[in-house]
């Protein structure tokens, strides 16, 4: 195995094993060895998180493994992201994600964000406790294809409806796709409030994001 292959394999393996320190170090080593950031991303970082997703889907990995992998993915990505040039990474669409007002549960949205990035989406994290007006302003900016909302409490999930109604009032509803997710939600609730898609978990969110964008 060449040195290049070895360091790429180290990046991938560190992400799969959820070792953020090793993942960051391997990404730095790859850069020092002269690898292009886009190659590090496409050959090491993305395959790493994809493997984790697969291990989770087939029941080998559980939530703690996925969480640690996501942290390692973020650590490796943080090394190369500032160096990526526009157009380097494939972009399947721009997603703005936020946890609705009154809700501070950021765990789910962090994993969704990681998986979407791994799948080639350009993801902006709007944060937690995001007011209705901020979601609407984001849609109004025209700088987003999918508005993603997370809610993890049965009182705060009601805020999603307010956002969608606000989008309709501002005549923005057909300008942006709306995806929702979170523990208390269901497909029925997503339909009831008029969302375009519900992601039952992070991998499902990737599938649904591709569907609403019409990409494979």
């Amino acid at each position: 195995m060449s040195s290049t292959s070895r360091v790429i394999e180290q990046i991938k393996q560190s992400i799969v094993e959820g070792d953020d320190v090793a993942a960051k170090a391997a990404a730095e080593k790859a850069l020092a060895e002269g690898l292009a950031p886009v190659d590090i991303l496409n050959s090491g970082i993305v395959p790493g998180i994809e493997t984790t997703g697969q291990l989770w889907a087939d029941g080998t990995y559980f939530m703690p493994d996925v969480i640690l992998s996501a942290e390692a993915f973020k650590a490796a990505s943080s090394v190369i992201e500032p160096l990526l040039k526009a157009g380097d990474a494939p972009k399947r669409g721009k997603v703005a994600l936020g946890v609705v007002a009154g809700d501070m549960h950021n765990l789910g949205i962090t994993i969704v964000m990681t998986m979407l990035r791994g799948a080639g989406f350009d993801v902006e994290h709007m944060g937690i406790d995001v007011p209705v007006a901020t979601f609407i302003a984001k849609a109004k900016s025209g700088d987003v294809d999918i508005l993603g909302m997370g809610a993890y409490m049965t009182t705060t999930m009601l805020v999603m409806k307010e956002v969608i109604e606000g989008l309709k009032k501002e005549k923005l509803r057909d300008k942006v796709k709306v995806m929702v997710g979170g523990v208390p939600l269901s497909q029925e609730y997503a339909d009831e409030i008029g969302a375009d898609a519900w992601g039952k978990d992070a991998l499902d969110a990737v599938v649904k994001a591709k569907q609403v964008m019409g990409v494979s």
Partner: protein, 412 residues
């Protein structure tokens, strides 16, 4: 009738020596003994009660009498049996220790997990046992416990060690500690049990006389926590807490831990379900099948039935806490809710040890759906259970809006 008298009446009913009506406590005891008239019904419903009664969150989660009276009123509206009058039980200890909170206008207070109380390991050293009479909303929580005790529902409540560790450290950081720095993680769990929960339980016992205390532990559900991790991290501290509480005459245990909550049906794994039940039994000290937040309306119930029979001994099955999923009760329709309850009674309820449990009823759940779930337990759960439940036609009870009920109760 006093609680003790009711309890004895329930046991006599189960033996066939008493034929009269059962009150909720008697029904609960008869269920534990395996021969009630019908399953007792419990629910987690604080957000729902607040929403249904139209009480502002800024009052409900800060004013103990308002909280308690609202819960009591909604409890009576639905005709439930087992009172669980507690609200944001995952917050109080962390809040009293100094965790950053968000106090939403329309929602329950919540911990800001983006800025955990323990950002770095050295932060643990700065923490001290809270003053349970002053810090955070502890006075509110203690007052709720006292109100419960005055009504005869004297029960202690706390945030169980694993869930409190998440509240203080955040889930990703805690998992990282458990894998990479187990020494620190053990120090954290030890602090939680010895310096927070044991002193808190002593205060609860002193103020309310509670002999039993249950620890909310949703963060310790599967797959947040795997069975292997639960064995290594959950059991030792559950035992440490239980032993310490026993030394001053209190039974304290985590509840709801290892609750099987796999969302993807294709990943439903009977072997893991069984391990979750085994671990839960070790934590609480008796075998009991706990069906909580998971998709039990979709899962195969045979694994539950088999486990409950294997561990049930002479009474047929173990006790079974038959949770009805919150999203099902929210989304309905009524026919689907009724079918699920009917299936519970058919597959799991025939030995008389089933508790009906409406899990975390969401804020805007239509009250008709809640009434339907309870009525289904009443109609299909009449003992002895009919051989063919399809022959029983479900009848939706006459619906009275909550506002009308509340007006009647107020004498209007």
């Amino acid at each position: 009738m006093g609680m003790m008298e009711s309890a004895i009446q329930g046991l006599l009913y189960a033996q066939g020596s008493y034929q009269g009506e059962l009150d909720p406590m008697a029904r609960m005891m008869a269920t534990i003994a395996g021969k009630p008239d019908r399953p007792p019904i419990a629910a987690q419903m604080h957000d729902h009660a607040m929403y249904l009664a139209g009480v502002p969150a800024k009052k409900f989660y800060y004013d103990a009498p308002i909280f308690f009276n609202t819960m009591l009123s909604v409890f009576m509206y639905y005709g439930m049996d087992i009172a669980i009058f507690f609200g944001d039980v995952y917050n109080f200890e962390a809040e009293a220790l100094g965790a950053k909170m968000i106090y939403g206008e329309d929602s329950m207070p919540t911990i800001d997990f983006t800025e955990p109380l323990i950002k770095e390991h050295k932060d643990l050293l700065k923490l001290k046992t809270p003053d349970f009479y002053k810090d955070g909303r502890m006075p509110y929580e203690l007052e709720i416990m006292k109100l419960n005790a005055q009504m005869g529902f004297g029960l202690g409540i706390f945030c169980a060690p694993f869930s409190l560790a998440v509240a203080m450290r955040s889930y990703p950081l805690l998992i990282r500690d458990m894998r990479r720095d187990p020494k620190f993680a053990h120090e954290l769990f030890t602090f939680i049990v010895d310096e927070v929960l044991i002193p808190f339980l002593k205060v609860q016992q002193k103020e309310t006389g509670a002999a039993f205390a249950f620890g909310a532990d949703a963060w310790a559900a599967f797959p947040n926590l795997t069975p292997d991790m639960a064995e290594e991290w959950h059991l030792p501290y559950a035992k440490r807490l239980k032993d310490a509480a026993a030394s001053f005459g209190m039974f304290a245990t985590a509840a709801g831990c290892m609750d099987y909550c796999e969302e993807r049906l294709e990943k439903f794994n009977p072997a893991i379900v069984r391990r979750c039940f085994d671990l839960f039994a070790q934590v609480i000290g008796m075998p009991m099948a706990f069906l909580g937040m998971g998709r039990w309306h979709d899962y195969d119930l045979k694994v539950v039935r088999d486990w409950a029979v294997e561990h049930g001994g002479a009474r047929g099955t173990t006790p079974i806490m038959a949770g009805v999923n919150a999203r099902l009760v929210h989304d309905g329709p009524v026919s689907k809710i009724v079918e699920v309850v009917k299936r519970y009674m058919d597959v799991l309820g025939r030995d008389g040890r089933l508790f009906g449990f409406l899990v975390n009823i969401s804020a805007d759940t239509p009250p008709e759906h809640v009434h339907a779930a309870i009525a289904a337990f009443h109609q299909y759960g009449r003992y002895p259970i009919a051989e063919n439940l399809d022959k029983i036609k479900f009848e939706m009870p006459k619906f009275i809006p909550y506002a009308e009920f509340a007006k009647m109760m107020a004498g209007g």
